[in-house]
């Protein structure tokens, strides 16, 4: 089982629909640009 160190260096971001992102590099991926992800379940 991988440990939580895989998220080291990530910045966290929570969208309006409650999805929490752990972003490696905010210059290459910005979660706020993905408006509707609520159907991901």
């Amino acid at each position: 089982m991988p440990d939580a160190s895989a998220l080291s260096g990530c910045t966290t971001f929570r969208t309006a629909d409650g999805i929490r992102f752990f972003v490696l590099d905010s210059s290459t991926f910005a979660p706020e640009h993905y408006s509707s992800l609520s159907n991901f379940e």
Binding site: P2, R20, V23, F29, P31, H33, Y34, F40, E41
Partner: protein, 140 residues
Amino acid sequence: MLKQARQRFAARVPAIDGSGTPVFKVFPLQNLASRLRCRKYAFREFANLREAQRRGIPVPAPFAYFEKRRLGFVVANGPVIEDLAGWHDLRQFGGTLSAATMACEPLAELWRRGCLHIDARDENTLYAPEGHEYRIIDWQ
């Protein structure tokens, strides 16, 4: 939708500002047992992608890992990775001999980097349209 399997699906999601179209690989966790083991697949894939990238293995660039929670439980999660639109897997490169020849380099690279990919096969090796650059995918 790029791919759908029993336990996961992958979809290209365009950014509202047109800045990109990464692939969201989503693992819906629909029952309590899978929610209690929420880090078994999606989180492992993200962790393995980071480690493979650190070792210099050609993989789709990992951008992020996400979790959606309800009542404290993770109900869906997955990695967000580079889109490889237009790339082709080894099955589309002619006959068995040419595909087998092309498979040698990725397999040798994994060996050189001390990496065991548990599902190294033709479907999981994608080549750029020019046919030189490749990426090894599916790191669960």
